[in-house]
Subunit: 276 residues, 2 copies
DNA sequence: GCCCCGCATTGACAAAGATCAAGTCAGGCT
DNA sequence: AGCCTGACTTGATCTTTGTCAATGCGGGGC
């Protein structure tokens, strides 16, 4: 289902890929044999930016594992589109549709060059039956995904645009292990706007509104001169915002809830280098 | 955690209760022995309307099974409240928190006199390990719940207030086995307003706006004199609205997605036959 | 029966957000 | 280098939604 934009580039699956896959909570405790069986039928593909991996309504034949790059999940209705989530490595996506062997509710599109491991849905479903440990991991992953979406609904219904942006910035700050004066936006602003449920114009104005709280923007670099003021406005809440603390704190591994993402850190470092 | 509002009324668990529980897809294929073990520690309680069963942030010790009455799930932030879902029998709730053994993201409150079976979370979690069939059912239920929440986000972000109301009415019509001229709202209007993500005042105006499409309201009774016009405005979409599209189409049994409700399905099939 | 209280509706107004239209800027291409 | 494209911003305007206030309606309790 890749309509345009050049052929995907298939390549063989390296053991390094499998190791990264294995590092996900979803696969970590799987029996070695089941893991081998599941990945036997998998194949690896590279996609250029802007490739539609999956269209909502399509039957879902694979579980996707994003190993490098960035993928956007979005939904469409009445010629409008809204971004429902953005994935960074290492993450899986559309597990729910695979488990139910049904059609996708979200479309998926690459935002950057991306390497994706595609695991046949059949293999996933039979592994759930054969390997209890994996079955449990699937349940935990889906429970986390459910909670992520509950948070999204609360965020959308209880907060206005400026508050959503403020919390997004607070989240970025919290997830950045480095010092605190600046954060780097991880997506194009128009993508971010859609993710936050507003138009690009309105995102610009929301940034402008946050100048009072000491927020200034320069391209993708946002400097937060008065974190306390920003946080006072944002009122982050653990029951909405899942600030995955890398640095400290335990957070039960099951409660990842970032779809199934685990290791963001690499990408962050990269984007930090180049800045206007 | 039932703060006020009179003592809950505990009573013994009857076999009839267990049978209704068993009818849920979540429990239907469970081994008899596991089911007996799981329900051994369960107890039954009656709650008057307005009782807080669970407060967001609370640790979750039980899986709740609603056997009669009506329960509202809502979220809170910054002194505002929004309804995230409304359950009718027979449904379970907060399975995700039980699976992860963590705190609740949603509060639960009875809207009517309700009978609720409370199953200890430990028993659920150990049953998942011991009974593969049950583990699979849990995964499927959570996958359905995830998809329900994805639909909710799309509904909220892609549609305006009038469109959300129109689709709600179309959904009620589709799920009502009787003839088509009227539907009955299932909740107080202010609850419905919150569920649809608007204020009560705005709900009134949304109803007024639908008069052009032949919608008139009288208390809880809504008459739809021109279904085609209403549907034309609502543009219901199987990827957002989980009711049988008017054409045909089967709903795959796995794709329940109504949290974990089952009882609708029969109604759906019925309404499929008769169509304007 | 009467009184109250809470729900629902309506109108006037205010705030939030979307749309339309320029206009700027940076990066990529020839 | 020069140009072109696409992203971002800003202002003006309109639509949608929320807020505040007043009123009507109806059911439950005394």
């Amino acid at each position: 289902m890749a309509p345009e934009c050049g052929d995907p580039w298939s390549r063989s699956v390296r053991t390094h890929d499998l190791e990264r896959c294995r590092s996900l909570p979803l696969f970590a405790n799987m029996h070695a044999e089941t893991f081998r069986h599941v990945t036997a039928g998998a194949h690896m593909q590279r996609f250029p930016p802007g490739t539609m991996l999956l269209l909502e309504g399509d039957a879902v034949d694979f579980l996707y594992v994003l190993l490098s790059g960035q993928v956007e999940l979005h939904g469409t209705w009445n010629d409008q589109e809204t971004v429902l989530g953005i994935l960074r490595p290492v993450s899986t996506f559309i597990l729910a549709a695979v488990v139910l062997d049904t059609d996708a509710l979200m479309s998926a599109r690459t935002l950057e060059n991306s390497e994706i491991l595609m695991i046949p849905g059949d293999a996933i479903r039979s592994a759930m039956v054969e390997d209890t440990e994996f079955g449990l991991a699937v349940s935990r992953d889906l429970a986390g995904g459910f909670r992520t979406m509950v948070r999204a609904v609360k965020n959308q219904k209880l907060r206005n645009a400026v508050e959503r942006l403020a919390n997004h910035l607070v989240m970025l700050r919290a997830s950045d292990p480095g010092v605190g004066a600046t954060v780097v936006l991880r997506h194009e602003k128009r993508v971010l706007a859609s993710l936050l449920g507003m138009t690009p114009e309105n995102l610009s104005r929301a940034f402008a509104a946050l100048r009072k709280q000491g927020v200034t923007v320069n391209g993708a670099v946002v400097t937060i001169s008065n974190p306390a003021a920003l946080i006072a406005l944002a009122k982050p809440d653990p029951l909405i915002d899942n600030h995955a603390p890398f640095g400290a704190d335990i957070v039960t591994p099951a409660d990842a809830e970032i779809w199934s993402t685990n290791s963001h850190r690499a990408a962050l470092a990269r984007s930090e280098k180049r800045r206007a």
